[in-house]
């Protein structure tokens, strides 16, 4: 379970001017459901997810994940979370197995449990053929599978995906989307950010539209269609965002 409560984040740019990347964002994600955070580039998706993964600290507000506060207990939060993005790369000189073992050990798994978990995950993801191969020698698809294995090794109840299919070919992207669905089916709480409408339509149970650091609306796809009188999600998105963009430009 994820509960974001008025999350705000301010950065300073190179000229020391303050930039408000996130402005009072609140939402809830329930176990066994996928929450899709939809927004254009620079809308605040990555900042939100990095705060949830405790990589960044919020300037105001907080979030509670599985009963742990992201500000007060960041290490406990990270132990409950699996975080995957296109920016989360692999260590090139470790083998796929060594990499997953490393993260398993950091998550406090004992050697017996770790071995069982790795055997199980590697079999499920068909990774046995390259478990001893170094990460810098893996194909993009193999790397993605290794990243997935890394996020799953400690069996976290919460999964955070930040634009996980960005820049991937169709087949690798399908592996990722299948994995996200599987997480939901296993009862995990899943939050997922993207700017690809078709992915949101296919995957998400609840959609939140974020723009300029603010969560503008949220609901199921059916609820959004009814509320905005449009069938196509892209049209709904444009209808919500355009007036704000026009206002900002004026």
């Amino acid at each position: 379970m994820i509960e974001a409560r008025g999350l705000s984040k301010r950065f300073r740019d190179k000229k020391r001017a303050q930039i408000r990347a996130l402005d009072g964002v609140s939402f809830r994600c329930e176990p066994g459901r996928i929450y899709g955070l939809l927004g254009a580039n620079g809308a605040g998706k990555t900042t939100t997810l990095r705060i949830l993964a405790t990589i960044l600290e919020p300037s105001d507000g907080t979030a509670v994940i599985c009963g742990h506060d992201v500000v007060e207990e960041p290490e406990k939060v990270r132990a409950k979370v699996g975080f995957l993005s296109t920016a989360t790369a692999l260590y090139p000189r470790l083998t796929a197995q060594e990499l997953v073992e490393y993260f398993g050990r950091l998550n406090g798994l004992d050697e017996n449990t770790l071995k069982k978990r790795i055997d199980e995950i590697f079999a499920r993801l068909h990774m046995d053929g390259f478990r001893e191969r170094r990460c810098d020698k893996l194909s993009t698809g193999m790397k993605q599978k290794t990243s997935i294995a890394r996020t799953l090794v400690h069996d976290p109840p919460v999964m955070i995906f930040d634009e996980p299919t960005l820049g991937l070919d169709i087949m690798t992207a399908r592996t990722i989307t299948a994995f996200i669905r599987e997480c939901r089916d296993r009862g995990k709480t899943v939050i997922f950010s993207t700017h690809i409408m078709s992915e949101v339509e296919k995957l998400c149970d609840v959609i939140g539209i974020i723009h300029d650091g603010k969560l503008l609306t949220e609901g199921t796809l059916a609820q959004l269609r009814e509320k905005y009188g449009e069938q196509d999600l892209e049209e709904i998105f444009v209808k919500i965002v355009t007036p704000l963009q026009a206002g900002a430009e004026a």
Binding site: F11, R50, L106
Partner: protein
Amino acid sequence: MARNAIGIVYRKEFTEWVRDRRTLISTVLVPLFFFPIIMVGFTALAVVMVGKAKEETPKIMILGGEDSPQVVAGLQKVKSLEVVPYRPDWKEQISDKEIRAAVEIPPGFQAALEKGEPKTVKIYYYEGEMKSSFGVDRIEKCLKNYRDQVVKERLAAKNVPTSVLTPFEIHQENVAPPEKVSGATVGGFIGYMVVLLCMTGAMYPAIELTAGEKERGTMETILSSPISRLNLVLGKFLLVLSAALATAALSVMSMGISFAALRRFNVSSGRGEAAGLLLQLGPKAVAAIFLMALPMAVLFSAVLMTIALFAKSHKEAQSYLTPMTFLVVIPAVASLLPGVELTPKLAFIPILNTSLVCKEIMTGTYHWNAIALIFVSTCAYAGVALFLAFKTFQRESVLFRS
């Protein structure tokens, strides 16, 4: 969360480190082969070159001397000199190394000698050219012998004994043991090299484990794991420190082997003590140098990590850290300057203090108060640097600089 998180991070960083070919070069190959090449190779080469130069019979030219046949004949008799006929372009001949030197006998030299009038004999040579200076030495020796002979004859003519010229003798004798002498000669160089190689050893892993992580995109991966930032910094720091100490250890070991080889070379070639480089690295000196290098390696590791973390890429980190080399080299070189001795004030200047104390240790001098002061002050600087590294690892603006 893992109990032994620092150890887990360290083991992983170590595995990656030993698999990196660049590590092999900066940590193992450079310290292992640098000293033998520099010290044994170059010294042996220099000894061979000097020997060859000494074996050569230098060609010289006599300018004038037509009315002074005695001195000319004296020079021509010297077997280790080859007198070539006069040519007006003798200056160019010296510059072009065709001849090594020229000696000018002034007109009326012989007659002036007989009358007891002073005259000056000039020797022309190529400054800085070794073979030319060997030629000058031999000419000078021949002329001095001739002058001494003239003096003896003059004294004999007046019935004055030659002992009147030397009422007493002066004799210098070294009482310091050979290891102290060699320590004083090359000891400063050891401190300098330990300082420099400690930093060189720490530099590459410091970049790799900070800016390298950012460049590869693994920083976000590790930050999303449940390890605390403090444990992460400490795990990484210990690896950088290990690299610095490994480089220092290998360099000291390599130095010991190089000096032993040099000693054997000098003894076998009959140069022995004359070479003045019979340095001995005893276990006490090695232990003391290590003890002093330890806090300095901590200081380097923490400072280099802190600076490299600001960079977004390997290349950027290198451009930040290259000026650091100068900052380190300047105090290390200052310790080599003649007359720079360890004082209570200098004991507080990082790097310079360690270089100076290593120099003292190499001569077998152990000022325990100064050693303690330097150890404690460097530890304090290292502690501050480590704290800064930890604080920098907590700064989002540094970790996610775009």
